[in-house]
Structures are given as C-alpha cells and as structure tokens.
Symmetry: C2
Subunit: 658 residues, 2 copies
Amino acid sequence: MSNASASHKDMANAIRALAMDAVETAKSGHPGMPMGMADVATVLFTKFLKFDAGAPNWPDRDRFVLSAGHGSMLLYSVLYLAGYPGLTMADLKAFRQLGSKTAGHPEHGHIAGIETTTGPLGQGIANAVGMALAERLLNARHGDKAVDHFTYAIAGDGCLMEGVSQEAISLAGHLKLNKLIVLWDDNAISIDGATSLAESDDQLARFAASHWATARVDGHDAEAIAKAIAAAQKSDRPTLIACKTIIGYGAPTKQGKSSTHGEPLGAEEIKGAREKLGWASAPFEVPEAVLSAWRAAGSRGTEIRKAWEKANAGIAATLSEALSEESLRGVSAAISALKTEWGANPPKLASRQSSQKVLEAIVPAAPALIGGSADLTGSNGTRTKHHTSVTPGDFAGNYIHYGVREHGMAAAMNGMALHGGIVPYGATFLVFTDYCRPSIRLSALMGQRVVYVMTHDSIGLGEDGPTHQPVEHLAALRAIPNLNVFRPADAIEVAECWELALQAKATPSILALTRQTLPALRTGPDFGNMSAKGAYVLAEAGLKRDVTLIATGSEVSLALDAKALLQEKGVSAAVVSMPSWELFAQQPEAYRRDVLGAAPRVAVEAAVGMGWERWIGERGIFVGMQSFGASAPAAKLYEHFGITPRTVADAALKLTVG
Amino acid sequence: MSNASASHKDMANAIRALAMDAVETAKSGHPGMPMGMADVATVLFTKFLKFDAGAPNWPDRDRFVLSAGHGSMLLYSVLYLAGYPGLTMADLKAFRQLGSKTAGHPEHGHIAGIETTTGPLGQGIANAVGMALAERLLNARHGDKAVDHFTYAIAGDGCLMEGVSQEAISLAGHLKLNKLIVLWDDNAISIDGATSLAESDDQLARFAASHWATARVDGHDAEAIAKAIAAAQKSDRPTLIACKTIIGYGAPTKQGKSSTHGEPLGAEEIKGAREKLGWASAPFEVPEAVLSAWRAAGSRGTEIRKAWEKANAGIAATLSEALSEESLRGVSAAISALKTEWGANPPKLASRQSSQKVLEAIVPAAPALIGGSADLTGSNGTRTKHHTSVTPGDFAGNYIHYGVREHGMAAAMNGMALHGGIVPYGATFLVFTDYCRPSIRLSALMGQRVVYVMTHDSIGLGEDGPTHQPVEHLAALRAIPNLNVFRPADAIEVAECWELALQAKATPSILALTRQTLPALRTGPDFGNMSAKGAYVLAEAGLKRDVTLIATGSEVSLALDAKALLQEKGVSAAVVSMPSWELFAQQPEAYRRDVLGAAPRVAVEAAVGMGWERWIGERGIFVGMQSFGASAPAAKLYEHFGITPRTVADAALKLTVG
C-alpha cells in the first residue's frame, strides 16, 4: 500500500493527463484507453503488482502485459511515475518520435518494464498465458521461495474478438493457470463505433466455459477493483475481471465515444478535461505529492526483492538466462557425439525423425527446453523419452499439448521466452506457419529464442494434398527480418541446425523438416558445424566447375543424383547445400563467391522460386513449384511437378551446352 | 424422407465401408471421422438436406460444408451414394491418387457438391458463416421464393479449438444467422490422444455465450439426430448440435481411439468391422437396395428444384454468377469516367482515399458487391454513401462490420464468394494480412473472386510503429500462387486495379493502399487500363535510356523525383510503375524486355527486397527496407531508412557512372 499522501484520484489523473498531453504533442496516438483504464492501472500498480521499479528485471516480479498495446501511454505513464530507470519526462514528450523509447506501441527492449511488444491485438493476452505457464513450470522446479508471481494483462474488446484470444483462454483454463489475471477494459467502444455493431458475446460466460473465474466491476471504483483483484489472487483458476470503463474518461464532450480512441483530443477538449478531472497542473507536470506517492509505490517491493535475492542467489541466473553456457556446451557435446555416430553409421531418416533423435540427445543437457506440439506430436517427432506431459495444475512435466491451436502456441512460446528461464520449442506442419504467422513475426521483432519445428515441409508430404503442402511458405518466412529459416538436408544437418537454433540468443528459428525419408549425405568424421555458414559446397566439381547446383533440404540428394547424371555427359557439377539463406547472406562476400562459383547455376527446391534469383542470378534456372501442390503419393508428385534429378540435369545442360 | 427400402443402419454402414476400403486401398487417409459421423451424415442427407444430386449447382440448394476436411471419404461416399454426376466407384478407388477427383482433402471444383476446400481446421465453419450470411443477404434482396436455404457444417474438435472458429461463431451469433446449423463431431479424440490432453471447454456454454441455440445428442441415434436438426431449423439463432460419437465406429479393437484418426485400419480390423457392423458386401460394393435408397434420397429434391427453377427463371443467373457482364460494363464505365475526371483534375489523395472514391463510383453499378472492414472502416475507406450496415437479423444492408476479426472476415468472404451471387471485399491494415493468411491462401487455391483492401501498406503509416508497418508482407503475398497483389501508385492506378480485381473471376486480389497522401502521376486523357499489363513505362528516358527506375505504389513518385535529380547530372532515366508483379509476369517476353530495358536497373519499394532480383537482375540495386520499421512520422521514416529520391538517384549513378 502506498503510504505517501496523494489520493487515488490524483494518482490516476496523473496517467490521464500525461496520456492526453503526450498524444497531443505527438499529434497522433490513443488517449481514450489510458484515460479509461487509469483507475485500474493505478490500483494494480500501487496495491498489488509485486515489483521494484529500481530493479525491473528481478526474476520473481509480477509480469504486467498491456495487451491493448495502442494504450501505450498508459504503460509509459505508469513506468515513468513509478520510477523505472532510464525513462524521463523528456521521453514522454518524445512520444512516437524517431529514436524515442516511447514508440507508438510498446516495444520490448525500449524500456525495462515493457514485458512484451504489443499492438497486434490478442497477442498480449496469449503472451501472458505463456508467461503464467512459464511461472508455474519454474515454480514446479524451484519452489515457492524462488518463483511465485502473478501475471496480469490488460485486454481490450479487440483482444477478445481476435481468435487467438480464444486459443489462449481455452489453454489457460484447461491448464488451471491460476496466477493469471486478465483485466478487461470493458468500454464497449471499438473503432467503427459501439462494439454492438459487430459483437454481442457474453464474455463472462465465454471465459467461464473455459473454466475461468470471472468478476465484473466498475472500472472507476478503486475499492471494487481492489476487491476483485484480491479475490482473483486466491482463485484456483485464471480470472477475468471485466472492468466497466468509460473510454476517454474525463474528456468533457468526447468521453465514451470512439473519437477518443485513436486521435488527439484537441486543445479545447484537453482544457475541459483538466477542469472536469480537477487536474490543475500544466502539461507534462506532475505535482510533487502525486509523483512521490507514485515513486513510493514503485519502491514498495524493494525489501521483498532484496530478501528474495539473498535467498535465491544461487539460481537467479537460471531463472532469467534460460540456456546457460554450460547447457549450450552440453548441447554441443551431445550433437557432436551424434554427428560422429551418424558419420560412421549413416542413417536413413526423415528429417523430422532425425530431429527427434537430436532431441533425445540434447534434452537432458538443456533442462530449460520446454517442448510441445499443436496436436501433431507423433508426426512432428517433438516428444522424447525424457518428456512428461504438463497436465492441469501439475507443472512438473516438460512437454505441452497445445491442442489444435498453432497461433496460441506460438504466442504462448513468445511469452515463455520473454518470461525467462525457458527456451520453448513447438511444432506443427510447415503449411500451418500461416496460422501462427503474427506471432512468428513478433518472435523476430522482439528477438526471442523460440524454435519452431515445422515438419511436412513440401509436396513430399504427399496424399494430404495442396491444403497441407507448403509451397510459398519458405519464401514467406525468409521474407521476415531476423528469422532464421533452416531446411536441413540430412540427419547431420538437422543436428547442426538445432545447435544453431539454440545458440541464436536473439533470433527465432524455423526448422523445416521432411515427412519423407532422406538419405545420409554427410559421412565420415565431424569437422564442425558446416551449416553455420548457411551454405557450403557439399560435393566438389573436381578440377573445373561447369555448373553449380544449389539445393536445400530434401532436394539436396536430388541435386547429387543430378550431378551423377551430368557426369555421364561430361559435365562437372558442384553441389551446394544451403540450409539457411539468412546465415549465408551474413558471410563475407569472398566466401559467398567461392561457394556459388562463377559457373552457371541451377537451384532446386520443392517450393516456389521467389527470391532464388538472388543466388542463381539472371542466367540461372530454378527448378521447383509454379503452383499449389496436389494429392498423391510423394514420389508421384515430384515426378508430376518436374522436380527430379533429370529435370535438374537438363536445366544444367541447357546452361552449359552451347 | 427416403422411400426406398433400406435401413438407416445399412445406409450409414455404406459410408463406413467405403471409407474404410478407400483408405485401405490408398494406404493413407482418415477412416475414423467418416465412420463416426456416418449416422449424422445419413440423417442429414436423407431427411433434411435440400438438394438435387442431378442438379448440384441449383442456387437455392442447402449448403453442406465438411469443416473437418480430413474426413473427406465421408463426403465422397455420400456424394457417390446420392448420385452426384461425374463421381464413380472408380473415383473412390482412386482416393488420394494423382489426378483423382477424390483428393486427400475435399478440393472445391473437383466434384460438384464440394462446396468449399477444407482441411486447414476451422476454415470450413467460418466459410459456412459466410455462406449463411450470403443466403440471408440474397434472401433480403430476392425474397423467400428465390432464396431460402440452410447451411450445414460438420466440425470436429480441432475446428472448435482453432481461434478462427471463435471469430466465426461470435459473428454468426451476433448477426443471428439462424439458418446456420453446425453439427459437432464430439468424439473427444484428437491426434495426440484424448482431447482432454489439451482441452476441457464446455462447448455448449461457449456457443451459448455467443447467442447460439445448442443441443446435445447421441450421434449414433438417428431419431435423436433428426429431432435436433428439426428443432434447429426452427430456431431464431444459429444452432450447434453436439453429436456424441465414437471415432472409428464399428472397428472392433480400434474404435474410440486416436489410432483410427489418420491411418488405414488394416485388413484384419476391417474384416472385424464388417462383422461387427453386419456389413457383408465386398470392398467397394454397395448392395442394390442400399444404393437405390441413397439414390432416392439424392433425387428427393428434384421436384422442388424444378418448381423453383420455373418460379425463378429470371434471377437464377444473378444468384449464381455474382457480377454479370452488365455489372462489369457498368463498373468499367464508372471507372473510365473517374479516370477522365482525374486526368483533367489531378487529385492529391492517399490511395486508400482514392479507393473510397472508386467505390463511391462503382458500388451502384455492382449490387453484388458486399463491403466490410475488420473494425477499421474509416481508416480503410471501405464505406460509401451507398452503404448501409447489416445488423442482427436485418440483411437489407450491404456493409458488414466484421469486428476485430480479420481471419473470420477473410474466411467468411470465401464462403460468400463460394455461395454465389456476391462479390465480397473486406479490409484491414496490410500488416494484418498475417492474421488472415490461411484464408487468403484458400481464396487463391479455390480461385475465388475476393477483394482484400489492405491499407497502411508500408512504413508510410508512420507513428504506430513496427508492429503495424508491413515490410515483408508484399513479398509474402506475392509468393502465393494465383493471387494478384496490386500496389497502385496514384488515384488513376487505384481505379485501374479495382477494375482488374473485379474482372478476375478466378483470382483473389490484394489492393495494397497507402495511409499517406500521394501526388497524381497520370494526367491527361484516359488511354485504357495501363495497369492491366502489370508494369509500364510511366516516364520515358528520352532518346537514350541510361537507367531504369522501377517502383510500386507510394515509391513511384519518389522514382520520378529521382529521375529529375539524375537529369541534373545528365543521366537519362526511365521510370517504370509496376502495380502488379503477377500481371507483368504474364506478359509476352518482348513486352517485358521493352519495359525493363537493357540499361541497368534500380528498384525502389518501401519493403524488403525479396524477389526483386527477378526484375533488376544481378547488377541491379534495390532501395528499400532491410529490417523492421520504427515509430515516427512517415516522412522521417523514409529519411531514416534511406528511401528517398536522393538514395535512388545515388544508386542509379553508381550503376551508370564508370
């Protein structure tokens, strides 16, 4: 409880005033939400949230997620008022300006206290589910003394309309994530107007159907809000608190209207709001008493934090770092051993199967790894003998059955990674990266180590047909900045790509893996991680290189077969395996030139050719898909779509003869 | 009611046997669902569904959607048994084989009676919402005599777990789509095992929270099923009927287990199932009495259909065709008039604003156009003075408030387009194409005329920051086969791209439009649709072309400014506007060569460069984004990321000097 002398009303009005003023100064932004939810945020941050503004990365802090990210000024105001380090009034004045910490939507990494990047609606609530899950997982491992905190999220009507929210709600209710508390900004206003234009759900009944506790309060009644949060903290289920609020609360003519949502109120309206709210301070000025009451709230947790640090000195790093250097060394050792074994005894495995064998080897070395699948465990090969399932209320396990909820899975994985102490991997078919693409994008934008195990990565999946066959997905994923897309060619490359994915601390990875069996291509001793450079010459041409064949994944063996066909014609081909465009692009130009060579190039990949011109040049030929796939056994499809050693060899001949 | 003499049990067992046998023959597939839902499907098709197998495209037929598309053999069996034209026992035997009509998942267009392509879970139920909405819209326009049919969907547990289902359910309940009936295959089994591994929702309560009527029946009790459907037909709301079934019903050792879901039962199990079910016929044989009972069910609707055709001869085409030739001529005339006006009085408008003006002009000519937005109506510019909103239970309007439900919107639009009689367009920000990408893909795969109005198409959206700024989305969309991505450069190109989108009968379109104001680039008289060729020389270089500058959308004017800068240096540049890669790629090589020219090329687009090598070649330079965006006013961002006339001119100089 804050002990400095300022009223709740003034403390909440400080948020409202800062939000109005910053949006006005920026000439753009969203004042309505911060003004509407100021009371709720004030109660939460001054009476409930366990945090120490001076030590914002304390592992056992409560997590706060602003799922309705357009209300960023609510968060910035509160973080400033509570005294988070490195955030000044000048930053608030620079709201939405180039290089400012106070971006239009909260960007993770800009200010300590922004637990996740939000703005795309529904993501935050699903991140919060992941954070609450991470908390319970770590609690089960380290006990209450080390890990015992709540996750709070403020969600808007838009968040609840997005489908991903349902996936998140359903999963959280099922798993009984009782330390998750969602505060719904129930203002009944959307951009087009009243939410009743598009929506009439009974949200409390909806959450109750997924086994949440629910409550409904006046979002401007501080006592009622406090009572509801206190009750929620004691619940054995996640809780939704519907906070009935007035959007733009305090704006004399605009409050309660959608016009307060996404544009400045205007000087006249702001003047009126100051009067109506009884807020006499000038723009960007907070009375000393109000500020010190907020600062006191911001340091409420200092003693608890210090006591925690004393008691948990031994594991603090584990809780925030996730994969320790020791873990990573263990992973590398296990992978090296596997590669040596496979080099000596070349396996014929689908790459999803070799991925499973890699996991068998590395999971013991990396206890922070939490696996899972969106109901395709057997197909994805994501579960090993080291795994036990997480079940409702029991978090000792290390494997999550995410259900048929790809989007919720990906967003939850982001939340788990952001929470710290965990490196999540999750799986579905590659074609269904479309279902979780908004969250994959956020993994990349936030630089989170999330590993997406995406199997059945081409027409090679066969009979299920075009709805299940990715053709454009590799290109679409490669287009996302800061995302490593790996398509390994055999078991050894799979092991290497897993190693790279786990070493990439600030980049998410996609592992695109086959359904169909692949031959072993790399044999003999292990000379280190060849995939780390993104591409390398797998088979030399000999003295003179007539043509370079470039391939990824399942098509590398096909390129090797093409090389043999070309040999018969006296054409000497080098074969380049290119498991990752991104890593190859990062290599020095000299290396890239060496690998690609000066001879004409043919690329082969069972996918659309978009972007391959970068590697094959104008003269090059791409052998791949020109359309969606079809339903048939895989081998027939490769024939049908003309992706064969013969077509590759013919393309090469076209470039080299004459 | 079928009057031929075969028991319900035998008629249902015919489905089960065909499903078992076809999967066994294909050596892959999903027998569990068809065996489990055979009773429900038999009741529906023999007692309720209004259809005439001999005239499968009858516009007033009931629609049936197999949302759980992996159960395709259920649909194929029923269509065969009911006597749909062009589907033979040989087709069932060719299940999942190359070129067969009976693909792994139902593919729209392969067989009349496959109302939509399903397989990606949750899509079908959301398509069904669109179909039911289309039915009510057309009913409001043409009356009960012409349009009065139900939409039925069979959905599985996976469909209900997918977030898109929530968006669809919520919208359907809100709009009171009372002619929509969803039959949930409540078998409590998913791929990983019991659904209780991942899910424990009270589905009936969930649907009730969105104002659906709900019922629960034994899915193997024909009478109970019939009673529930009869009640649902009378409801004033959409209805969910939970059909408690046993997956793989009849398989002696495997029924009720996830092992029946996605693989052949095996010869021994099939033999046992035949015994248990009392089905004595050989594989792919259906007793004459059973087949003729089914065929009688398939022709139940013949008389009704004939009577309907007599009564509605005048409008049958309108109900199935959507945009008549007359409508298209009207659209073209309106667009031509607008272009003439704009040519004479060049407007400065954001392309989202010129799009709105185009809609003002064309909506009266195209009554089949149904507009909407995912709660961004004002921002997207999708509503005109000709629009009135569709409201719960009142379908006279022509504008849908889809709510913050991009995925549900896109899937519903697919359903509306598939239904016939409607051409839907819907809008959100371009960055949120990620949220509806699975449905955009299906628009393309099914070849449906759906128009996606995607505004705020680059960093030009400014202050909202990187979560709202598309950088990879143009590339990701261009990678999808059979999707036209348009990025018009000024008001006249916007008008042209709208015309092309509406003329593309079997291809969906994306219109990528700016938030920021654009200058008019095309002035003077209208010489026809220049955008139709995908790219054209907007500004000639003069006698000698030193360099070609290629741009799209908002960057075309920037290329023109660069041309002026180059002129000062004595370098002669041609500027190519390229509103559509797809249409340009379809032009004869000679045209493409003419446009691109032999001189070095620079491309500029405020997006990632992926794929641009195709147009600029190895020597070319791309000016664009290398990373995610940032939060700042648009003009500052263009400076910050180096997308300016100066950088384009500098790139050109690098290529032309020395």
